[in-house]
């Protein structure tokens, strides 16, 4: 009899580790590595384990440079900059230090690497990941081959560096080894985020993320509010074009 009981309890116990091991496509997945909160509650709920995954490649697909991508990362960078340095590799334009300090971040934590060739930039990114003395790496690249992405992802897995890669929106169609891919589009007062890929259920509708610190958000709610300011000019034009019969 005791043998039977133990057998039963064993058979009852087996499904639970299995349940852990099986991931269903309609559930949010989980990742092993530590995550860092994004600082945006709307986004946290949509990401596995509720934050940016460390030690992996995160792809941000941008419509163009300067649409609020740094604002999106600002709370995370704020947390990282308290302890470690932040490396910007091959940024599209010159980073402005005054903007960085205006966000309350220490300027001495920034490192800007500008390589002449794409291969050099990839090499620098890999070296920064391997070295591990920077807490976060932001890497801009337009044309990357699949094997380079895999290599970077592999290099990121060996460290605790938060690694974002910024690529053009057109790359959303291409395959990528990154476990998390977000497409960013600007919108009034914030950002529209499309979750292209994540370890979790598919999400079709874009996610609206309000960014309070953008200058537009603080002054007016929407650009439509400006329209009436300039309404005088079109009004004069219509008056001149009236058919003479009506006058």
């Amino acid at each position: 009899m005791p043998a039977l009981v133990s057998h039963l309890s064993a058979s009852n116990a087996t499904p639970s580790p299995l349940l852990h091991a099986v991931w269903r496509a309609n559930q949010m997945g989980s990742c092993r590595a530590a995550v860092t909160a994004t600082g945006h509650r709307v986004l946290d709920t949509e990401l596995p384990n509720g934050g940016w995954p460390g030690a992996s490649l995160i792809e941000l697909l941008l419509q163009q440079a300067g649409i609020g991508e740094m604002q999106l990362l600002r709370p995370t960078l704020d947390a990282v900059a308290k302890k470690c340095r932040i490396a910007l590799v091959q940024p599209p334009h010159r980073p402005q230090i005054a903007a960085w300090t205006a966000w309350g971040l220490p300027a001495e934590r920034l490192l800007w690497v500008q390589a002449a060739h794409g291969a050099d930039a990839l090499w620098s990114a890999e070296q920064i990941l391997r070295n591990g003395s920077c807490g976060a790496l932001l890497f801009w690249q337009t044309h990357v081959r699949g094997e380079s992405l895999r290599r970077l992802h592999l290099a990121a897995q060996g460290t605790e560096v938060l690694f974002w890669m910024m690529r053009p929106l057109a790359c959303a169609q291409d395959a990528s080894p990154a476990p998390l891919r977000l497409a960013l589009r600007p919108t009034a007062g914030g950002l529209h985020l499309d979750i292209v890929k994540r370890r979790g259920p598919r999400r079709d509708e874009p996610l609206f993320l309000p960014l309070d610190a953008l200058p537009a958000a603080s002054s007016t709610s929407s650009p439509a509010a400006h329209a009436h300011l300039d309404r005088r000019t079109p009004a004069a034009a219509t008056a001149r074009n009236l058919p003479p019969a009506l006058v």
């Binding site: 300067g66 649409i67 991508e69 010159r94 005054a98 960085w100 690497v113 200058p215």
Partner: protein
């Protein structure tokens, strides 16, 4: 119980001319009469050690003959000794192109006997030589094991050493070679046979040397050595076996010099902060000054891997003006070696030494102007205020002003077209905030008279634009992007 390593270099005469990494070929080293060393290719062609010079030329007319150069061999041996000083301060020369290392005190630091043997072998191979390594509790025993051509050469305990030595032929002992004839005559072949002979008789017939060497090998007599002393300053030169036309190919030779420098640094308890690699060029019609490759380190270093990586990246960027025939390495500035760290648990983000190493590596490959850190200046003009400096030189940046600025600044402002009296960039721009007037710079000739606005396009992206009065016209420029 002591641990000794004996390093024997069987191919030393040949490898001083042709390091082991150089291309295989028919090479023979001859002294006045006979062949002393033979490359593997020449050996297959039938050339043997001890052949006469004329015989070699008849058998293998294509063979390149090198004159035996004892001074150069001794130089090579001291280079190896210098490189091996990184494992122990007790290195001594021994007879017949070999070295003896007392490693008793270094076993734990390098992870045991086997790992240490591997490292010694790797270092010597990187220098371009083929070592035979023997390990034993006595120096003479280690030397004999290294000298014997069989492959099992590592012994830890004294009893097993005695057993192993008993089976070896006594002919290995240089002191006993004078009495080869009569020892052969009485049927004495191994060390065991030699030890069975009466000591008094042996000493009378062969001199004191044989008995002394025997006693030293079996641990029954004291061994005394003149240890190798490291020179006060470091400068090593290496002639290359071939002309080298690509800078990257120099790395092999440079690595050999770096290994020597590592040994020297460890022996002197120093760390290098700046070193120079001089590339000496072939003298063509006019003499060319050697090209210096100077490498400065932010953090004193003595580890070979880091120095090799730095040099590799630097050499990758250099275009040679003429073929290189020799390289010379100089340690320009050294400082005392610091203990690695004083904290018990490592920092999560790596130490500052790690960061400096990263900066050095990036700077070595990309150049000074590509690895930048903020160095803001107190100025109202945004392009002047936003200063960046080579990261290796910035110590502590001045505080930057806290202003509403875009994160991305265009290098040169982009002129905007005007449609319907409004600046146009992809779509008509709406003013969101402004103006902020910046009028500044009359004193250095870069006068700026601008009204800055924050503007928004149809796609809701925010731009930093400015208006500039140019005589009667008003020009609009895009200067930044809010990220």
């Amino acid at each position: 119980m002591r641990t000794w390593i004996g390093v024997h270099l069987p191919q030393l005469p040949l490898e001083t001319f042709r390091p082991r990494w150089s291309e295989p070929g028919l090479h023979v080293v001859v002294n006045r009469l006979h062949a002393v060393a033979v490359s593997a290719q020449a050996a297959t062609a039938g050339v043997r050690i001890g052949m006469r010079r004329a015989g070699v030329q008849t058998l293998c007319p294509a063979a390149v003959l090198h004159e035996h150069d004892a001074a150069r061999e001794q130089e090579a041996l001291s280079e190896i000794a210098l490189a091996l000083l990184q494992y122990t301060p007790e290195v001594a020369f021994a007879e017949e192109a070999s070295l003896l290392l007392d490693l008793t005190a270094s076993l734990r630091a390098f992870g045991g006997r086997r790992a240490l043997c591997r490292r010694v072998r790797a270092s010597i191979e990187a220098l371009g030589f083929t070592p035979h390594i023997g390990m034993a509790p006595t120096a003479q025993g280690a030397w004999l094991l290294a000298r014997h051509p069989n492959r099992r050469r590592r012994v830890v305990r004294m009893e097993s050493l005695a057993r192993r030595l008993d089976a070896l032929p006594w002919l290995l002992l240089p002191a006993a070679q004078s009495c080869q004839e009569w020892l052969d005559g009485i049927g004495c072949i191994t060390f065991a046979d030699l030890r069975r002979l009466p000591r008094a008789g042996l000493q009378r017939r062969s001199g004191k040397g044989v008995l002394d060497a025997l006693d030293r090998a079996y641990g029954q007599a004291l061994e005394l050595f003149n240890w190798v002393q490291a020179p006060k300053t470091f400068s090593a030169r290496l002639e290359l076996p071939d002309r080298i036309e690509h800078a990257e190919a120099i790395l092999f030779a440079a690595r050999r010099l770096l290994l020597q420098m590592t040994g020297w640094l460890v022996a002197q308890q120093l760390a290098v902060t700046r070193f120079t690699l001089w590339l000496e060029h072939e003298r063509g019609r006019c003499a060319l000054a050697p090209t210096p490759v100077e490498i400065a380190l932010a953090d004193p270093a003595w580890r070979e891997e880091h120095l090799v990586r730095l040099l590799k990246e630097r050499l990758g960027r250099i275009a040679l003006s003429a073929p290189v025939i020799a390289v010379r390495l100089e340690a320009a500035r050294v400082s005392a070696m610091l203990p690695p760290t004083d904290s018990l648990f490592p920092d999560p983000g790596g130490t500052s030494a790690d960061y400096h190493r990263l900066l050095e590596l990036l700077t070595a490959r990309l150049g000074d102007q590509s690895v930048l850190a903020p160095a803001p200046r107190a100025d109202h003009r945004p392009e002047v205020c936003n200063g960046w400096m080579p990261a290796a030189r910035v110590t502590r940046p001045a505080p930057a002003p806290r202003l509403e600025r875009p994160f991305w600044m265009l290098e040169t402002p982009l002129p905007l077209t005007v449609r319907d009296h409004r600046p146009f960039y992809g779509s008509p721009l709406q003013m969101v905030k402004g103006p902020e007037r910046i009028e500044c710079g009359w004193w250095d000739g870069r006068l700026v008279v601008r009204d800055y606005f924050i503007a928004q396009g149809n796609s809701a992206a925010l731009y930093w634009i400015y208006r500039q009065r140019n005589n009667e016209e008003i020009d609009w420029f895009l200067h930044g992007l809010f990220a």
